[in-house]
């Protein structure tokens, strides 16, 4: 049973079969789970929740499994199950751990199948997640912002707009960078970097959400709709290469749009820039004399094994001393923003982003870099809330690169 089969059922509108397929994904994975619990110490929830065993990857998976097998889907139990399923950050750490040490289960697929099932049963998502889903449907972004203001951040910049123009590279900005003013410098930095490298790039006039939040929150129907709308655009404008800012959009296009990779090259900007910098040798003029650490975004690192590209870029910058935090690369600690958690308050005894900032300080860094708008927001909020602005700042890799040019 795989994801494609589920989508096929959905497309053929066989709802009963869709639900059966979701159940099969869950029951099969849970049956194979050895309950060895290897997954729990790598899970961000182990570090951030109260520490009950149901709040672990196998705990969540077994919960939905027994809910189905023992028919525990009523009243308070229903809410408890929903809260457990939507606690997961979908960081993929459990999947990697299980693959290296145990049965190699698709733990995350089972958890996400559980979310879809709860959505079908009108139990999920979390109450606060309903509005962003509605907003994606109505406005093409999860923030309820007007579509016509999406490209406002580009004012004053000379950038090709698709259509009517065409470009070799589609710079897919993503909803968060487009609408969140504190992230506009990241979007602009990438424009500057592309221009510096003479890249023929353009931005969609009517860019819409890739659908990732919808899928993470269990709304498969909405995800499919956003995917189809995006694919229509890409096809009609003859897009051949897409470069994204967000690892979430990147992962969605690369791994969750079934046919796209056969026709379109999908890259995260860090991959794209490493390659471009190697070919075109940028002129770094400004030294950044800082101790810099890099926070691996889960959808770049743990989901797609892109660990080196951002680090290579940082190491190109004169003056940068790159240090690693104690949890790094495939053991990196999630910032807590993935899996739909950007849109809801979930249990956090200790905030993951606070822990991450503490780890960065422990490593001696005065700049924590990342390559994901959500990670950026989470880390920035932690620095502000903890009044640590005089000790450490957060920067996107694109920003720090642009500053040094």
């Amino acid at each position: 049973m795989n994801r494609e089969k589920v989508i096929e059922d959905l497309n053929t509108m066989d709802e009963e079969k869709f639900i059966e397929d979701l159940k099969e994904i869950i029951l099969d994975a849970a049956k194979r789970c050895r309950n060895c619990n290897y997954c729990f110490t790598i899970c961000p929830l182990f570090h951030s929740t109260r520490g009950f065993m149901s709040q672990t990857p196998s705990g969540i998976m077994q919960s939905i499994n027994y809910a189905l097998k023992w028919n525990i889907l009523k009243g308070e139990d229903q809410e408890n199950l929903r809260d457990l399923l939507y606690l997961c950050t979908t960081c993929n750490g459990c999947v990697l751990r299980c693959k290296s040490k145990a049965t190699g289960l698709p733990v995350l697929d089972a958890i996400e199948a559980g979310r879809k099932l709860l959505r079908e049963m009108m139990i999920g998502p979390l109450p606060q997640q309903r509005k962003p889903l509605k907003d994606i449907y109505l406005y093409g972004n999860p923030y309820g912002e007007k579509p016509e203001t999406r490209v406002d951040w580009l004012k004053g910049l000379k950038v090709k707009m698709i259509p009517p123009e065409r470009a070799e590279v589609l710079y897919y900005v993503g909803c968060t960078t487009a609408y969140e003013p504190s992230l506009h410098p990241i979007g602009k930095s990438l424009v500057r970097l592309f221009q510096h490298l003479d890249i023929d790039f353009g931005i969609l006039n009517e860019e819409i959400c890739c659908g990732e939040p919808a899928r993470r929150m269990g709304d498969e129907g909405l995800f499919q709709e956003m995917m189809n709308r995006n694919l229509d655009q890409f096809k009609s404008f003859g897009v051949q290469t897409i470069v994204t800012i967000s690892p979430h959009c990147f992962n969605t296009f690369l791994n969750e749009y079934p046919s796209i990779q056969r026709e379109i090259k999908i890259q995260h900007y860090t991959q794209f820039l490493v390659q471009a910098f190697k070919e075109k040798k940028p002129m770094f003029r400004k030294e950044i004399s800082s101790v810099v650490t890099y926070h691996d975004p889960c959808y770049l690192g743990k989901h797609n094994q892109i660990f080196n590209a951002p680090r290579e870029l940082l190491q190109m910058i004169p003056g940068v001393k790159l240090v690693e935090m104690k949890m790094t690369r495939d053991e990196s600690l999630c910032c807590g923003g993935g899996g739909g958690r950007m849109f809801a308050e979930v249990e956090e005894e200790r905030k993951l982003s606070d822990m991450r900032i503490a780890q960065a300080l422990e490593a001696g860094a005065n700049i924590i870099t990342t390559a994901c708008p959500w990670c950026y927001k989470m880390l920035q909020t932690s620095i502000q809330d903890s009044n640590l602005g005089d000790k450490i700042t957060v920067k996107d890799v694109a920003e720090i690169l642009s500053e040094s040019l």
């Binding site: 009950f52 149901s54 027994y66 525990i72 408890n80 457990l84 751990r97």
Partner: protein, 475 residues
Amino acid sequence: MTLKTSPEVAKLADELAMIVPKKYVSTHIFERIKSSIDTFPYEAERENLPYAIVMPKSKNEISEILKYANRIEVPVFIRGSGTSFTGASRYHVPGIVINTHRMNDIEIFEDFGFFECGPGCICESVAKEIETRGYFLPFAPGSRLIASMGGLIANNTSAHVVDASIGKPGDYVLGLEVVLPNGEIIETGTKGLRRPAGTDLTKLFVGGDGLFGVVTKIRMRLVPAFERAYGFAIYQDLKSLAKGVKRIYTERRPLPLFMEFMEKETAKIGYKIKGLEIPRGSVILFVSIGNSKEEASQRAKQILSSLLAENPIEAQQIEDIELWEKLWSSREVIGSYLMQESGNQWSSAEVVSNLMKLEECMEDARHFNKDLPVLSQLTLYLFGHIGGLTMHPGVIIPKEWDNEKKKRAVDEKFQREAELNLKYNTCGGEWGQFAKRTPFFIQRYGKESYELVKKIKKTFDPNNILNRGVLEGDA
């Protein structure tokens, strides 16, 4: 007392919430399920689900919980990461589960030469903390990434380490803080580096299978890190391999820290996964230790001289660390590969030989599932910690089997394990003495010994509150 109604359980939770903050008490069905299953391949048992799970932070909270449990006569189960291989984390009756994960403080006192940690500390976290300061955690369970220190001490597991090389965890425990089943709090041992001569209650709780008290603080000696040297040998047959290992002991060689083996067919799997040239026989891998590189290397050479005397196809020291890591991980990945390849679950036994009959025991382990109605239907794999004379014959349990068949498979495994350990007058050195192994304990040490343990248990725990069912097991 058995709680029969929801209001009774709610009352219990309310009263527990007067001892620990309410948010650390859970009666959620999903937490109750997850806190009652272990690595056995069969499902949770509805009738034995715990009433509530509670997460205390201090010895005083644990003390109050136990006093309360005694008053209402409800059993209390102590749970770390729930990784027991003997069924010690499966409950036979409902009760209150104490999850120890919040008791995870670690303090290192280099000036005193020891560290202290809570029972909920994860072995890997403790190891990392002390390793950065140049020390070494003197035990290495396969579950190091998740095992709790409390569980590890309650089992006194040698895990993969060769016992005769550096001993058991208990040899490094200087003292404990323990809450007795009646709620009284005691301290054992010393804060110095010289352990007590004469009566030392520490010994009752280290390797006490959690029967006599709840360990709330562990004090262990800081052990300086060793230098290491690596070696391997390949033998045409298991008999020669066993003879080679015996020589290491009888020729009085410095024993290795680790010595693993893989039977030829099993080794092929690990080697293949790691992209190594398929071995021509059964494989031994070992790690020697010393205070210097030279000393470790010298010791490895001495071990090799014994191994070479039994005409291996190949035997040598390994200097190339990358190659060593590949070889070592070829042993580590076998179980997970087999599970992933088949989509089913691994289940193994712990067969321990005496030194003299190692060849014979190995042969028995190689035919571990012979004539067993359920297990003989499955392919047997064989590897183990041969330096500790331990073998782990294992099978892959098909996920399609029904619950009852899976239970029979587990029971057969323990029956055969008991037969072999009885034959060789040994016992398991990794997984504890009771639960599924209680029948073995009775056969191995006699009814008198078992009754004695029961009497000791009764002295400490007259109401049989703590970890009820572990001692009784399948007896």
